[in-house]
Point group: C2
């Protein structure tokens, strides 16, 4: 990181009553905190390890189209809205934080290795076209014209021009700095429980160390850990979905990757996101293993096998980092956004594979929720109250 976390994080619990407490210092929690502080609120962010979750492990693809699967039409709409908001969001954040976040208009190439992969690519192309999404089907020759390093065996691809990338780690750092510059207050602790009385405006968060923090507004944005806080009704159906990733670097002579490559290699999904200066992020496994972040032989082997079958040149890369993160999984892969029945209690989690993409729209929506005490219409579908048993 270009600046030390320890310099900008105050470890003491706050002695005042903040206007809002955000539980979770990933991109979602930080962006909401930043927005609220811009609107004049005094905010506190509570997290045992800021940026210790999925935000730091992510690849930063802004991919509402290539992530679009049947049954997820509402999610696609939200993703496209956030994608459209990205350039202005980045400009605001970069101006405020005085840091660059590596937003690049690269486009995605989604490739299929064998005949079955080709069939799947064609199916997704047709599904997305029906949704009105702009995708273009390319044959093998046309695909390798776009990206000559691809294996000659590639059967077909879909080119998606409007998908971009952001450097998730630069985004993390810029948001952290923005919250700090905006007067936000950090407290390193794990929240165990929420206590409230419908008749009283102040809600109280109790940390594992026993310290309490009260505020009229509480936003739960704790990623995969959001379901573990006691006292929230309904309990959030969030579960961790492990993703192992690799960060590799190609020798200078091999540079020149422009596009994000997503691929199906004999039925296995893999992607690679080329950063400036030769760093490449390769991901990601999708594993239901609980709160486990170990790096496994199987996970790393499959990523390496799949990516080298698509892009043989990657063999020459050096491995700089292997790491695993826990995505906040939720029913039908849709995030949980907005206010609970309890006034002053809000949530923004369950972003699954789309946390970086959905950061702008989530921060806009949730800051509006808190300030106006009314949820904007475009997040209605994602309300936490859909999980109330009598709903």
């Amino acid at each position: 990181m270009t600046f030390s976390l320890s310099k900008i994080i105050n470890l003491d619990p706050p002695t005042f009553v903040p206007d809002a407490v955000i539980v979770g210092a990933g991109v979602i929690g930080l962006s909401i905190a930043w927005r609220l502080s811009q609107k004049g609120m005094r905010v506190v962010i509570v997290d045992p390890k800021p940026l210790g979750g999925a935000s730091w492990v992510a690849a930063g693809m802004l991919a509402p189209v290539s992530e679009a699967n049947p049954g997820e039409e509402e999610l696609v709409r939200l993703g496209l809205k956030s994608l459209q908001r990205y350039p202005s969001f980045v400009k605001e954040l970069e101006d405020f934080s005085q840091m660059e976040v590596g937003y690049i208009s690269s486009g995605t190439l989604e490739v299929g290795l064998d005949a079955n992969d080709r069939a799947e690519i064609e199916f997704l192309h047709s599904f997305r076209s029906k949704l009105g999404l702009e995708t273009k089907l390319l044959d093998s020759t046309a695909t390798r014209k776009v990206e000559p390093s691809l294996s000659p065996g590639i059967q077909a691809s879909v080119s998606i021009e409007q998908e971009h990338q952001v450097d998730n780690r630069l985004l993390c750092q810029a948001l952290l700095k923005a919250v700090y510059l905006g007067g936000g207050y950090f407290y390193q602790a794990t929240i165990a429980e929420l206590k409230f009385d419908e008749k009283k405006p102040l809600k109280t968060l109790v940390a594992e160390n026993g310290i309490k923090i009260s505020s009229p507004n509480i936003v739960i944005a704790a990623g995969a850990w959001s379901g573990d806080i006691k006292g929230i009704i309904p309990q959030l159906p969030i579960y961790p979905i492990k993703g192992q990733t690799l960060r590799v670097r190609l020798p200078e002579s091999y540079l020149g990757y422009q596009k994000i490559i997503r691929g199906l290699a004999k039925g296995y999904h893999v992607y690679m996101v080329p950063r400036k200066h030769g760093e490449i992020i390769i991901g990601a496994t999708v594993e239901d293993k609980g709160f486990d972040t170990t790096i496994t032989v199987e996970g790393i082997y499959e990523l390496l096998r799949n990516i080298t079958s698509l892009l043989p040149n990657i063999s020459e890369a050096t491995i700089e980092e292997t790491l695993a993160g826990l995505r906040p999984g939720s029913p039908n892969n849709a995030p949980i956004l907005g206010s609970f029945a309890t006034q002053g209690l809000f949530v923004a989690t369950g972003h699954y594979r789309n946390g970086i993409l959905l950061t702008p729209v989530t921060s806009d929506a949730l800051s509006d929720c808190v300030i106006d005490q009314v949820d904007p219409a475009y997040i209605e579908y994602f309300s936490p109250n859909r999980f109330l048993k009598d709903a």
Copy 2:
């Protein structure tokens, strides 16, 4: 490491004239230094980074038989001599250092995955039998009786009962401690040049920082770096051979590997050495890349592919460490051992893949060379003077 290097290494250059200076603090240099100090010599070991070379990366296989290839008969004889010496060497070292070094009589199983691998295994079995080595050919069923975790596809194997293992890292630490307890003196520096005058008994080593150390006896044991010291005649034909390795750990439920498994998987060599408590060392690539110790996609991918094709259960392991070392390669893979034409100048390097195995015999031979000023007959074949141009 179980004790800190910094506690036992004195960083200052010595102010006395030692009886011998050893260049290189790997297992070879340390074991020679220990032996010489036991015989009453005051020794200094010079190394920029003690245990920073191949010794720490090795797997600790004691494998003169499964490493035996045509043309290497002299090397096999030396290896067998060292293997025979191992139990008493370990006992002496463990008694002196009061540390265990994890010597285990495990045996090796050398397996072949497909028909071509089987043919190669059978050829090696026949070659080794002709050398009088004890190896036993097993068919697929018999192989899987010995090690049920092996892939059902395994075609054949050779069982080598007399090959064992030592925990190379425990060996490193025990030797370091033994040198320290024996009164040896460490100096952290890179030796750039040797200066001497045939008429004077003292030879002088000049470090990169300009500091000089003089002694009547100099032993070059700097592994892959041994050829880089100026002023040595003949210049040693040593070149670094990179090896990438993995250290993984299996869940408790999978434990039970006893034997070292070496294998040919579709023509690719791979091995795995099971330690006590579930750690497994997987190795190793053999690469001619100069002084490069990067971890590459190709290297790690091939190791994972090859080992999981032999032992599918390894997929469940967690990856704890990836690292690369530089073996000291030499012509016809034979070490370079003994005295130069210049009196008081000795060498012990070029151990290639056999450094851990050859530690006992090398330390015995070189300490005899220094004390007696005559090379023992059994290392004659390995003399550095074979590289003199007029020889």
